[in-house]
């Protein structure tokens, strides 16, 4: 019995990923990535927020509970936040949320907080691509298949 | 001579049932007892005191989709309801069967609630008489009893040798076709005795206690946790809301408790029952006055004692009933 090539099996599963991008850095980085034609996974939906600090845990938890396979928050590098403290607070919140999610069975890679500045178009597409690959490897979100 | 089932025969009979019916029975869930569909007979608890929640959710589920509407040609068409497979609710005590009977009145009186009715018609009730009474039990004070078969298709009365079998309806008998039931000369074990609670005549005097400050003081400690309504075998208030999904709308009905903060709040924000005391009074008045008046029947309480066990601040319906009677007689004397 020919074992299906894991690559081929995986390509069928297209994870649905949400990326909250802060307006000042990550979103600008996304634009730059698009303008400079960096290759980007198509199954990542970007939502622009004014600051990474604007993303409440309820949004992340609701997305995962409704079957999304992964959620990312992309903010400015610490110290570069347009509102000076937004990303510091997000960093603590995201750390605890990631720990809580992994404690109840959501693999840590499904929720990622990354720093992308406005000038890092390449990093944006690299970060998003890396996340998409990791999430694809994890398979569908087990919370989702109970609907 | 009485129809009789030894313990092994009972298990044999239950195994047979499992092939044909979905069997819902009391099972151990972490360190509490709940009614759940069972896969093997061994899971069934045959000697439990009282379950955390009553089996009312077999007929009035914690939440159910009443309709699924689909958009067809600019109109919302309701899809036919999924079929309900025949099932057996096994091991409920007489007080829980009494609770179901109390819910039958509002739900089945015309225009009947189709969703409740379909489940009722698809389910056979096989009860288990109580061999022990907990201090909170007072079924005998509200027209029930530890061995009361009146709202059941079949009643099993546990004895040291096995189970006395009382088949009361055709639907109950249908469960035993082709199954040999022994006969035994045995008399019913003495039923456990429950502590009496002064519920008799409470409907007549309830009105006099309405404006008493007792309700506000009683509600001081109430934290409105909704448990009394959720664990009660005959509380049936519900909420209905829509779920908007892709091209599909689900109209969902779920449990709701009269103790919840927004229970009577209107869209504009006006709430005719804002105070804690008024909300708590509504619970006991619906049980002791409104339900008996609306349906000319007995009080809406089965004496199972779950609300006494569940209440985190020990608001005890037995004490409320005695206080209401005391106030009632005081008012009567004064009049």
């Amino acid at each position: 019995m020919k074992l299906p090539d894991t690559k081929e099996v995986q390509t069928e599963f297209k994870p649905k990923i949400l990326a909250f991008c802060c307006n000042w850095c990550a979103y600008a980085g996304a634009d730059l990535a698009g303008v400079s034609r960096f290759q980007m996974p198509t199954n990542v939906r970007v939502i622009r927020v004014m600051c990474s600090g604007r993303v409440p845990p309820e949004l992340v938890i609701r997305a995962l509970a409704n079957g999304l396979d992964g959620v990312m928050i992309l903010g400015c590098h610490p110290g570069e936040c347009h509102y000076s403290e937004g990303n510091y607070l997000t960093r603590r919140r995201a750390h605890v949320l990631k720990r809580l999610l992994s404690y109840i069975g959501i693999e840590p890679d499904r929720f990622q907080l990354r720093w992308v500045s406005a000038a890092e178009g390449a990093k944006f597409s690299a970060v998003v691509k890396e996340a998409a690959d990791k999430i694809t490897a994890l398979g569908p979100n087990r919370w989702g298949d109970k609907r | 001579m009485k129809p009789f089932l030894s313990r092994d025969n009972l298990l044999l009979w239950l195994k047979r049932l499992l092939q044909e019916y979905t069997v819902i029975a009391p099972v151990q869930a972490w360190d509490t007892v709940l009614f759940q569909p069972v896969k093997e007979v061994e899971e069934i608890l045959l000697n439990y005191d009282v379950s955390a929640l009553s089996p009312k959710d077999v007929f009035f589920p914690t939440s159910e989709t009443l309709f699924t509407f689909e958009r067809q040609g600019g109109r919302w068409e309701a899809r036919p309801l999924p079929e309900i497979k025949k099932q057996v609710l096994f091991g409920l005590h007489p007080c829980d069967a009494h609770g179901i009977a109390l819910m039958d009145v509002p739900f089945l009186s015309p225009p009947a609630d189709l969703h409740y009715q379909r489940r009722r018609e698809a389910t056979t009730l096989v009860g288990l008489a109580c061999s022990r009474a907990r201090p909170e039990c007072f079924c005998e004070s509200v027209g029930g009893g530890p061995q009361d078969p009146s709202h059941l298709d079949v009643l099993l009365i546990p004895t040291p040798q096995g189970y006395i079998l009382q088949v009361r309806t055709a639907r109950g008998a249908a469960l035993f076709t082709g199954f040999n039931v022994e006969e035994l000369e045995i008399d019913n074990p003495p039923p456990p005795v429950t502590t009496p609670v002064p519920v008799a005549g409470i409907t007549e005097i309830a009105r006099d206690t309405f404006n008493e400050v007792f309700w506000e003081r009683l509600a001081d400690r109430c934290i409105h946790c909704n448990l009394c309504a959720y664990v009660c075998p005959c509380c049936y208030c519900f909420d209905i809301r829509d779920y908007a999904l892709k091209g599909r709308v689900e109209r969902v009905r779920s449990w709701e408790s009269c103790q919840a903060a927004g229970f009577t709040r209107l869209a504009g924000g006006y709430d005719p029952r804002p105070s804690k005391g008024a909300r708590l009074r509504q619970r006991f008045f619906h049980k002791f006055l409104y339900y008996p008046t609306q349906f000319k029947g007995q009080v809406k309480c089965t004496g199972c004692g779950r609300c006494v066990r569940a209440c985190p601040v020990n608001i005890d319906i037995r004490e409320v009933a005695s206080e209401m009677q005391r106030i009632g007689s005081r008012v009567a004397r004064a009049a």
């Binding site: - | 109109r75 969703h115 049936y236 869209a267």
Partner: protein, 277 residues
């Protein structure tokens, strides 16, 4: 098989949605199936549940006397989730309707009597069917006095019909607002003060009141001061409802269920209510 549950709404369509005030729209709703439309007979004072699919359903009183073409009218203020969802719908869109529910104004008993309609804000909508009933059988009733107030002139609903009501024989329309504005020439006063000013006589008269609870309380005081007997003071009460069928037991005021024993009550009944809503 289609579920014949009492909770299943009849498919219907919004024929027209007209702004009466900044936050109130008049919806003309038509039931799709002609046969269902035929035997959907409602009486003034009754209500129905309107479904905004995807948001939910809410009870609304009929705002019109039954018309031959079977089109039903509802005046809905945008105040909650379902009413806001209905306000978003365009004419032609599908809604659901369930009913008619509740008792109705006993118009036969009012024959030959003078009728006083006292409305506050959106409260005029449930009373409009009574006005239309009286005007279409004018000779069967005595004097018709409509006392209607709203917060501001822009909040007066059915303003386009006041003149036609006023011109009908033996009919008077008294308008008032809590706060007037630039071009408002009419009275600026609260509805209860207008009653005190007009001093209607309780002789062979029925008063029907509907409005915010605070207004009903003060109107009741004024009418009692004018020696109106409780039997002569009728109102229609509002309560949070989910079924309309006397099943879900949540719309009760004391032992009365607003969805079945009401929503129309006379004050002789209300005064015996346990719970003063």
């Amino acid at each position: 098989m289609l579920p014949d549950s009492p909770f299943l709404p009849l498919p219907a369509r919004i024929q027209e949605a007209r702004d009466l005030t900044p936050d109130v729209k008049l919806f003309r709703v038509e039931i799709e199936d002609p046969r269902a439309r035929e035997n959907f007979r409602h009486r003034p004072g009754q209500f129905a549940f309107l479904s905004a699919f995807g948001m939910g359903e809410s009870p609304f009183t009929f705002a019109s006397y039954p018309s031959p073409d079977g089109v039903l009218e509802f005046a809905i203020r945008r105040v909650g989730t379902v009413s806001s969802a209905l306000h978003e719908l365009e004419p032609g869109e599908a809604v659901g309707i369930r009913g008619p529910f509740g008792n109705s104004f006993p118009l036969e008993e009012y024959r030959g009597k003078n009728i006083i309609i006292i409305g506050g804000g959106i409260g005029l909508a449930p009373l409009r069917p009574v006005i239309q009933a009286v005007l279409s059988h004018r000779e069967e009733y005595g004097e018709l006095l409509v006392i209607y107030g709203a917060r501001t002139p822009a909040d007066l609903v059915f303003a386009h019909e006041f003149s036609s009501w006023g011109e009908a024989p033996r009919t008077r329309v008294e308008l008032t607002v809590d706060r007037g504005n630039g071009d408002w020439q009419g009275r600026v006063a609260l509805v209860p003060t207008v009653i005190k000013e007009l001093k209607p006589s309780p002789e062979n008269t029925i008063t029907i009141t509907c409005g915010p609870p605070i207004m009903i309380r003060f109107v009741l005081a004024e009418l009692k001061a004018l020696d109106f007997a409780p039997m002569q003071i009728v109102t229609t009460l509002e309560s949070k409802m989910k079924c309309g069928l006397g099943k879900c037991a949540r719309c009760n005021i004391g032992e009365k269920y607003v969805c079945q024993d009401g929503p129309v009550f006379s004050f002789s009944e209300i005064s015996r209510f346990l719970e003063q809503g």
